[in-house]
């Protein structure tokens, strides 16, 4: 992978690392996201994906979901540091729960030139049961949801089709313990 950043690409640095999804319940107040993001950058932790929305209007609570990479020891330290922040109610590593579910949503815009491409795209969209949001002559927009892994596979498959142009947005994973 070539990189124009002065920083080393993190891929190798995280060989021992495991992917973890952290679920954080916070008071929805100004600066809370900055506190959390600042904690990660200040202590050299990694954010792979981040999602935040109010989930309880009455009690003014937001849920923040962060996908991060790190050794187990580092993840425990991140959780302990998060729980020290005043507006944080709880921080949970979903992997530590006996049962938890993850989902992510992705919108993909695909531009194509010919019928053959269209057919292949349609085929994959069908296999992955993605929903058509909009279809024009040479453009189609799909919505696909599920685990991040499933979305990755869908995108990998799309990439096998030559000559199409793909633009996408992903929510990052969200998750819930049961």
């Amino acid at each position: 992978m070539s990189s124009t950043s002065v920083y080393p690409t993190p891929i190798n640095a995280f060989k021992q690392s495991k992917r973890s999804v952290l679920s954080i319940i916070v008071d929805n107040e100004p600066g809370i996201l900055a506190r959390i993001v600042g904690l990660f950058s200040g202590r050299g932790y990694n954010i792979e994906a981040l999602n935040v929305t109010v989930v309880d209007i009455k009690n003014n609570l937001s849920r923040i979901t962060i996908e991060t990479l790190g050794e187990e020891k580092v993840i425990s330290q991140i959780i302990a540091q998060l729980e020290k922040l005043v507006p944080v109610h709880s921080a949970t590593n979903l992997a530590n729960l006996s049962e938890s579910y993850e989902a992510e949503i992705c919108l993909v815009k695909i531009e194509f030139d010919n019928n053959e491409q269209d057919q292949k795209i349609l085929n994959f969209a069908d296999i992955y049961r993605s929903r058509t949001v909009q279809k024009r002559q040479n453009i189609v927009v799909y919505e696909i949801s599920g685990t991040s892994e499933r979305i990755n596979k869908f995108l990998d498959d799309l990439n096998t089709i030559g000559g199409i142009k793909v633009e996408l947005v992903r929510s990052g994973p969200i998750g819930l313990g049961i």
Partner: protein, 590 residues
């Protein structure tokens, strides 16, 4: 509409401070805090100490807090006023000192316009406070201030900042008193409420089994309150277990007691570091396994079972993995250990750890703090020893700057009580000691307060002598003047081939004349025959005194565990040479 029950934001602030029993505030005025200064003008419960630079205010608040156990409070204006306190806030965060900083902000409608003296105060101070607030609505002010004090002083203490826009200082609202506020528990982070009985039982079982136990005590013990020290003394006496403390733990246990091995760590005692290295049971009471203490981590106390009591969950298993931990207040936990031993009639007296103490006493024979005082030039170690001998009968508080003098003070001045030793450990802030002495003297007007200083550090906040003079605070600045940034020079000597790049402090002022120009008193000792007189004179004068003590310029601070080395690889004197492999690795560390 003027309502009798409504007050301006500035008045609400003062009411809240009164409610919090604040009687002293350190500050410096400016445009964005004028309404608050106006409110201060017309009252008399709160004594305002006008510092000469905001850095002085924050270190004074720290000194006040450390020496009194109360929350230190300061007041600064927007923009440069508040950026000047960033170092001190970081210092208080690292060393867990409870302070509340009130800062003015430009009026709400100007926020975000790059207005005059506007800065993103909450943004700048977010990583260097335990928590901070921007209060945009005057009706939230009372509650915010009370929560700020609660957060600053609960759990692991730390600095909290409240930024108040000028229009909010003028706006009116009701005042809500402290007793009418119910705190939301998740925001207070006070640690676990109940003692972990299982932890206590395990610990006592391990004490019974252990052959080579040690207590490793840090600043958390101090922050748990004076009762923690009492419980610790009782426990040490009961168990006959040796005890070593960190830089901040000094005074939690009497330094002259036979069970005390003194300070451990980079410049700690030989016997303390070796005992840590060889122990089979380590009982960590409120210390955080700082790199200055552990040395090389992979060689840190390899054979011990480790117990850790710390109210801060994130300090547990951060640097060193422990076998048992509890996230509970130290006083509560130690009390439970003592009463568990008592009520179960556990006979620890039989365990006198003869071999272990024998081994420790052999290490003690190395006399790692030995120095040779000649006929003429004052050895800095000797200056501290004499200062200790000549002031030990008095009720003394010691603050320090940062450098060799700080380490010599920690080694040669002995503390018998907590809260008497006020130093910048985690951040190592030069310029801390003198304003901290101002704060300590405000809190303890009848005590002797001495800043043990280096000449370079002292120059960093020298303006605060004027504060001491104005408020008639008879603080003593005891300068170990070696004309060098001694600690920098020492590292250059050990690690950089004695290339003393920029560590000579040239063009020093005449400290005696400087004292006089501030209307303070200057005394000087140039050689050993003048030392005791200078100390006695300094102590006897009831005004601020600067004592300029000329010490050996080339003296180094030993023992020393060089960065990257392990506890058992200490250098005891300049004749010890470091293993070259460690030296290369250590060079890149701090």
């Amino acid at each position: 509409m003027d309502n009798e029950n409504e007050f301006t934001g500035a008045d609400i602030l003062l009411k809240a401070l009164k409610d919090q029993e604040v009687d002293t505030i350190f500050g410096y005025p400016g445009g964005a805090v004028l309404p608050i200064y106006d409110a201060i003008f017309g009252q008399n419960f709160l004594k305002h100490v006008l510092v000469r630079q905001e850095a002085g205010a924050v270190h004074a608040a720290e000194g006040y807090a450390r020496s009194s156990g109360k929350v230190g409070v300061l007041l600064v204006t927007s923009g440069p006023g508040v950026t000047n306190v960033v170092t001190g806030l970081t210092d208080a965060l690292m060393d867990s000192i409870p302070i509340v900083c009130i800062s003015g902000q430009v009026p709400s409608h100007l926020i975000g316009t790059d207005a005059f003296q506007e800065c993103d105060t909450t943004g700048i101070t977010r990583p260097c406070t335990k928590h901070n607030y921007l209060v945009k609505d005057v009706s939230k002010l009372s509650e915010t201030i009370h929560e700020a004090f609660k957060i600053a002083s609960s759990g692991r203490p730390g600095p909290v900042l409240i930024d108040i826009p000028k229009d909010v200082q003028f706006a009116k609202s009701k005042y809500i008193s402290k007793k009418d506020i119910s705190f939301r528990e998740h925001r207070i982070k006070a640690g676990s409420k109940n003692v972990d009985k299982n932890f206590v039982q395990e610990l006592v079982n391990h004490i019974k089994k252990s052959e080579r136990p040690i207590f490793y005590v840090g600043g958390g013990c101090l922050n748990s309150g004076p009762q923690a020290s009492q419980e610790l003394i009782e426990l040490v006496n009961k168990t006959n277990i040796p005890i070593t403390t960190t830089l901040h733990g000094l005074g939690c246990f009497p330094g002259e007691d036979k069970s005390s091995l003194g300070m451990l760590g980079m410049h700690g005692n030989y016997e303390a570091n070796l005992a840590m290295n060889k122990c089979d049971l380590m009982i960590n009471v409120g210390a955080r396994f700082d790199d200055r203490v552990t040395g090389r981590l992979d060689a840190f106390s390899p054979d011990s079972v480790k117990f850790h009591i710390d109210i801060d969950q994130s300090s547990i298993n951060k640097n060193v993995k422990v076998d048992f931990h509890t996230n509970t207040d130290i006083t509560m936990t130690l009390k439970e250990i003592n009463s568990f031993i008592e009520s179960n009639n556990i006979e620890l007296e039989k365990k006198d750890y003869t071999n272990w103490w024998g081994q420790i006493n052999d290490w003690r024979k190395k006399e790692c703090l030995h120095y040779e005082q000649g006929e003429e030039i004052i050895k800095p170690q000797h200056a501290i020893s004499r200062l200790y001998d000549l002031t030990t009968q008095k009720d003394t508080f010691i603050t320090t700057e940062v450098g060799q003098h700080q380490m010599w003070a920690a080694q040669y001045y002995k503390f018998s009580k907590p809260n008497r030793w006020i130093t910048s450990g985690g951040l190592g802030t030069m310029g801390f000691g003198m304003p901290a002495a101002v704060g300590a003297q405000m809190a303890n007007p009848d005590s002797l307060v001495i800043d043990i200083a280096g000449e370079a550090s002292f120059l960093m906040n020298i303006q605060e002598i004027a504060t001491a003079v104005q408020y008639k605070l008879p603080i003593k600045i005891f300068i170990l003047n070696n004309e060098y940034m001694g600690m920098v020079r020492q590292w250059q000597e050990l690690l950089h081939g004695s290339r003393y790049s920029e560590s000579y402090v040239d063009a020093l002022p005449d400290f005696k004349k400087l004292a006089e120009s501030f209307n303070a008193v200057g005394v000087r000792a140039k050689n050993i025959s003048e030392l005791d007189d200078a100390i006695n004179e300094m102590v006897s004068i009831d005004r601020p005194v600067i004592a300029d003590i000329w010490v050996d310029k080339k003296e180094n601070c030993f023992p020393m565990i060089p960065s990257g080395a392990a506890h058992h690889e200490m250098l005891l004197s300049k004749y010890d040479k470091e293993n070259p492999e460690n030296q290369e690795k250590g060079k890149v560390l701090v």
